[in-house]
């Protein structure tokens, strides 16, 4: 069960973050040329691979499992609750939905303002590299936390890679920002999953012997989903009742 959940968690997290990175890379490619944009993508992906490749095995080898579970569980909890918080705020209408098309337009306008230099376009490279690296760093940490807890990195890496391939393929086919991806729904799912895994691992690291064993992850996920929906309901602005004046009442 946790293998499937881990794959799904890494896959969905990578999908959301790579949709955001794709918007930036497309904006760079269209305004500054594809050479610098694609070299930036390659650099960003390599840098992320180095982070996972260096940190992953050393964490598993040198840090005791219980301590590791507390640290990674805490990080997952913070990330998960941040995602869930944003999803609740967007669903309740208190925060604007993420609009990839608008972000793309802003990026294009900003990049057009910067004049193209002769030779290699370092501005395009840097924007593209930063877009991929910064958006992907959270995914890399999620892959690291899943992998270090389970002692194997193939499942979360495969999940993240599948997300990356899906977004890159979709981006190459439609050649515009992927604004139809149900980003907030995915944020809900990933937020709930990270929160459930984080709580479970922090508990295990602290010494809790969960009564339902791995099944507790599903109970926690159901609890966080119910809490999220309750919070959306309570935060949604309601139409205020206006008391009618006597003139309005009398015909």
């Amino acid at each position: 069960m946790s293998v499937t959940l881990m794959f799904l968690g890494a896959f969905l997290a990578a999908t959301v973050e790579m949709v955001e990175a794709l918007t930036i890379v497309l904006a760079v490619g269209v305004t500054r040329g594809w050479r610098a944009a694609l070299i930036g993508v390659g650099g960003g992906v390599c840098a992320l691979a180095v982070v996972v490749g260096i940190l992953g095995p050393s964490l598993v080898t040198y840090v005791p499992l219980d301590g590791l579970r507390v640290v990674i569980g805490t990080l997952l909890l913070i990330f998960g609750l941040q995602w869930l918080r944003k999803a609740v705020l967007r669903s309740s209408g208190l925060k604007a939905m993420h609009d990839e098309a608008a972000i793309y337009d802003r990026e294009v306008a900003a990049l057009r303002d910067d004049p193209l230099a002769t030779g290699f376009d370092w501005t395009g490279f840097t924007v593209s590299f930063k877009g991929v690296f910064l958006e992907g760093l959270e995914v890399a940490l999620i892959v690291l936390t899943f992998g270090t807890n389970d002692g194997r990195f193939d499942i979360p890496i495969a999940g993240a890679f599948a997300g990356l391939v899906l977004v890159v393929t979709a981006g190459a086919l439609v050649h515009q920002p992927l604004s139809r991806v149900p980003e907030n729904t995915i944020k809900w799912v990933v937020g709930i999953m990270l929160g459930a895994f984080g709580t479970f691992w922090v508990g295990e690291g602290a010494g809790i012997d969960w009564a339902l064993s791995d099944g507790m992850i599903l109970v926690l996920a159901a609890g966080y989903l119910a809490l999220g929906l309750l919070l959306v309901w309570s935060l949604k602005p309601r139409p205020t009742r206006r008391i009618s004046t006597p003139e309005e009442v009398t015909p």
Binding site: L81, L89, V202, G203, A206
Partner: protein, 67 residues
Amino acid sequence: MKVIGFVRGFAMFWWDFIVGDSITLAIGVLVAVGLAFALVHTTSSGVVEVVLPLVIAATLAASLLRR
């Protein structure tokens, strides 16, 4: 001066990355973890099993209500 600027920028990046929009979440999670450690040695595992998710749930609710 350049080194200080770099260190400050690096620290700000990680602060923003981990704490994000809500410091209540980060503090609440740390409190929940600390509480789990304190309770697990003084009471039964079953109690902590209930208290830990409840404190985390309260943290999420508080961060949204204090926005």
